[in-house]
């Protein structure tokens, strides 16, 4: 064992620090054991492992093998720790802490092997995507002598570290660092420009593919935002190989889908999601987000390629092979949130190279991954049009006719809560204030006499979201978690006015969510407060009456359960095999007097629940996204397992101390199978934690 090595370098942006506590001579074991070498388990994003030491018979015996709090790795505790570690090279690798340190851990104990941190100063503070990120990427040279960990910092710098020591690879970029705010085919502020990334880069065929993310675009000050171009880099040198313009430049394919030259005055359109790749085809699949802004398209008439499109790009050249747009001229924040799942479909006696792209809107877009052609028909259907004269709503949207969607789409009276007649009556009364409608109903203009907004289902956050799905390549079955929540979508009255397309013109994205809001029983403010004519202005309105939420009797969702679910599909036929409610009902619904006497133990978790699922030989495993109080009075979230063939619950009540916030992964190390996932504690104990489970 070598002594601890500490490297301190005075980088221009601040201090970098690597600490190596153990230098290993060779990987621990597991020549034959499957690794977990990428965020999604493999480049096809399957989240699958053939391990079966943990199975339906012994799942109930799982114990905590080790835990690692991440607080000490940053100036403040993690608030949503969403990383998935890698198991490769005999170590566990991930990012952790508010400063997004890269760490290597002993897979058996969680002991820190090495840590690398970057203090990026003002650039880090201004990061568009804060926090620990989703993890790291791994690369090894063919002879295995050169092994690297690659990740992107909050300040949008890409680092390559020696996988054994955590020390920067000096031959990569500038002493191990590539500044992603440079060589971007656009001039942006080197410190506080609005671009970053919390996803992991994807490495395929010796090319690192890096996306771009922005601050949530419901709150943009202008549509003239940074463009989310995607770039490829040489994994050995850090040299930029190509840039794919997600908003086409003049003369490039797709430029004319931005009417009125609006490609020149829009930003975003990045890839904040994870990606997938097919090394044999040499293609990387980019799930592109929407242009600026999320709920308002005044400044971008037209379909706006490659917004909300899946784009297949040649990984050596960055040239587009094909694309498929899943939403035209989006107004709903239904951008592509996760990696497509690649698989070989057995169809009509032939093998078809296919992929399935889950969406926030609860569709699976199933395409031929060589050509981009739909496997089953996708129809362009007419959709409702905006009442604002300045919003050029797309006349149609693409609707996959098969498979069936994995969650409810659109909201009608049939979707209202009917757990009791009283709740149903209250729901009917409440929705009189809102506009209901099918999928792709535009935002209602919120005027004093009009509706409070359009109720939107799935919510802006899905449906599915960044964790994506899982896939069992032995049976060609796909699994995905989704949640069912209502969101309030509205334009403000100013949206009936002409739009200022200059950089000073705000995009007026003004949606308001529906997952919060006060109990409707809250009375008006005290006399003398907040009186005055309603009108437009920048000042707070004073304490008048809070807006209504979308809840009944204080805490019961407006819509009927279930509130989160897992869906299984046979991807040879597209047939939905089963759906299962996932989460335990939150306390404030479960214990509500209005539901006394009803079986409401498992209605699902309500709210912004992002759950990644894991498939193993026989099981489907996922933790709950919200906590509840158990019989002992403890706050817990369950780690659940299902028979992946049937969706039946596997026996066992594994109580985690906090809710799942990072998707689980699994590995075999020295003969023992572990399941590791990131959780996030709330309240006085707030912070992120990695927890490893194993059999006694």
């Amino acid at each position: 064992m070598k002594p601890t090595r500490i490297l301190l370098s005075a980088a221009a942006l601040g201090a970098a620090l690597s600490i190596t506590t153990v230098a290993r001579t060779q990987p621990a074991d597991s020549a034959a054991a499957p690794e977990w070498p990428t965020y999604g388990g493999n480049l096809a994003s399957h989240r699958y492992s053939p391990l079966d030491q943990i199975n339906a018979e012994n799942f109930k015996d799982l114990e905590i093998a080790w835990r690692l709090r991440t607080d000490f790795l940053g100036p403040r505790p993690d608030t949503l720790y969403s990383a998935t570690p890698l198991y490769v090279n005999g170590l566990l690798y991930t990012t952790a802490g508010q400063r997004r340190a890269a760490i290597a851990l002993d897979p058996a104990t969680g002991e820190l092997i090495w840590m690398h941190r970057e203090d990026e100063g003002a650039r880090g503070d201004a990061a568009a995507r804060q926090g620990a990120g989703r993890g790291v990427s791994y690369w090894a040279s063919p002879d295995g002598a050169d092994r690297r960990i690659v990740y992107v910092t909050p300040g949008y710098r890409m680092l390559a570290l020696d996988a054994d020591t955590g020390l920067p690879i000096e031959s990569f970029g500038d002493d191990g660092v590539v500044d992603l705010k440079l060589d971007f085919d656009q001039e942006i502020d080197p410190i506080d420009s609005n671009v970053g990334l919390n996803a992991t880069p994807l490495i395929v065929n010796d090319v690192i593919v890096v996306g771009a993310a922005h601050r949530p675009a419901g709150s943009m000050d202008s549509t003239w935002n940074v463009r989310g171009y995607v770039r490829g880099y040489d994994v050995r040198t850090g040299e930029r190989l190509w840039t794919f313009h997600t908003i086409p430049l003049r003369g490039e394919f797709g430029y004319d889908t931005w009417e009125d030259g609006s490609a020149e005055r829009n930003g975003n359109t990045g890839v904040w999601a994870q990606m997938s790749a097919d090394p044999e085809l040499g293609l990387v699949y980019l799930p592109v987000e929407m242009p600026t802004a999320d709920y308002n398209g005044f400044n971008r008439p037209g379909d706006g390629l490659f917004g909300e499109s899946l784009v297949a790009v040649d990984v050596r050249t960055g040239e587009r092979r094909w694309h498929y747009q899943t939403v035209h001229h989006g107004l709903w924040d239904y951008d592509l949130p996760c990696a497509p799942i690649l698989f070989d479909m057995q169809k009509d006696g032939e093998t078809v190279k296919a992929l399935a792209q889950p969406t926030k809107s609860a569709f699976l877009f199933v395409l031929n991954r060589e050509t981009g052609e739909p496997i089953w028909p996708i129809e362009e259907r007419p959709v409702p049009q905006s009442e604002s004269p300045y919003e050029k709503t797309s006349p149609t949207q693409p609707f996959p006719t098969w498979p069936e969607p994995f969650d409810r789409q659109g909201i009608s009276h049939d979707d209202l809560n009917d757990l009791t007649p009283e709740l149903r009556a209250e729901a009917e009364e409440l929705v009189k204030s809102y506009r209901l409608g099918p999928l792709f109903t535009p935002p209602a203009v919120d005027t004093p006499d009009g509706p409070l907004g359009t109720l939107m289902l799935p919510a802006d956050v899905g449906g599915a979201n960044w964790p994506g799905g899982a896939f069992d390549p032995e049976t060609n079955r796909l699994y995905i978690h989704s949640h069912t929540a209502v969101f309030t979508l509205r334009n403000i009255p100013a949206d009936l006015e002409p739009f200022d397309p200059s950089p000073a013109g705000a995009p007026r994205s003004s949606a308001a969510g529906g997952a919060g809001g006060p109990p409707p029983g809250l009375g008006a403010g005290p006399p003398g407060l907040g009186a005055g004519p309603p009108g437009l202005g920048a000042d707070p309105p004073g304490l008048g009456a809070p807006r209504a939420g979308t809840f009944l009797q204080g805490t019961i969702p407006l819509i009927k359960p279930p509130y989160d679910r897992i869906t299984a599909y046979d991807m040879n036929t597209g047939e939905m095999l089963w759906q299962k409610v996932h989460g335990t009902t939150p306390d404030n619904i479960r214990n509500h007097p209005a539901l006394a006497g009803l079986d409401v133990e498992r209605l699902g978790a309500y709210g912004r629940i992002f759950i990644g699922v894991l498939t193993t030989k026989t099981l489907l495993i996922a933790g709950e996204g919200s906590v509840h109080t158990n019989e002992a009075g403890e706050t817990v979230a369950l780690l659940r397992a299902y028979d992946k063939a049937t969706g039946e619950d596997v026996e066992g009540r594994i109580e985690m101390p906090a809710r799942q916030t990072g998707s689980p992964m699994t590995y075999m190390h020295n003969g023992k199978q572990y399941i590791v996932l990131a959780v996030t504690h709330a309240g006085a104990n707030a912070g992120g934690e990695l927890i490893a489970y194993a059999l006694p």
Partner: protein, 157 residues
């Protein structure tokens, strides 16, 4: 971070709870000679109107663009009012909430003064339907640590 938002107000088309503000009382703790003052309960009025109004102005300037006018949350920003919020924070100390607020806004963590963070918390309490009291919410750690967040009682409770 500043967002120009239309200031709007309307009486909502929801039933106003009969309990309403008639039930609001001031702090029920008393301070007698030699007695320790108990920490006030958020259910009985733990902040002043003045604090909440000041907190509202801060909220509009610093928080609204992500968390929304109705505190319902947006995209990555979680809700700050309603059952999803209270499901997370029920029974947790107000000091934990102040610490959490102190991490905001995300691009400028640690820049709010204690007074401002407590004022924003007061506005959040108001928005969550918790009553106004006679005495301001303390800015002292030891007092806030003894106070816990509770959602207002459900109808029928």
């Amino acid at each position: 971070m500043r967002s120009v938002y239309a200031a709007r107000r309307r009486l909502l088309a929801v039933a106003l709870c009969g309990a309403g503000f008639a039930a609001i009382t001031s702090l029920t703790t008393s301070v007698a000679n030699g007695q320790t003052k108990a920490a006030p309960s958020v259910l009985k009025g733990a902040y002043t109107e003045e604090q909440a109004i000041r907190g509202q102005a801060l909220y509009y300037a610093q928080c609204l663009s992500c968390h929304g006018e109705d505190m319902a949350g947006l995209d990555q920003a979680p809700p700050l009012a309603g059952p999803v919020f209270s499901g997370v924070w029920e029974g947790e100390s107000l000091w934990a909430l102040v610490q959490r607020i102190d991490m905001m806004p995300p691009t400028q963590p640690g820049t709010l003064s204690r007074d401002d963070a407590v004022a924003i918390l007061a506005y959040m309490l108001w928005y969550n339907g918790l009553p106004i009291g006679d005495a301001p919410l303390s800015t002292e750690q030891r007092v806030l640590a003894e106070m816990t967040f509770h959602a207002p009682p459900l109808p029928g409770q």
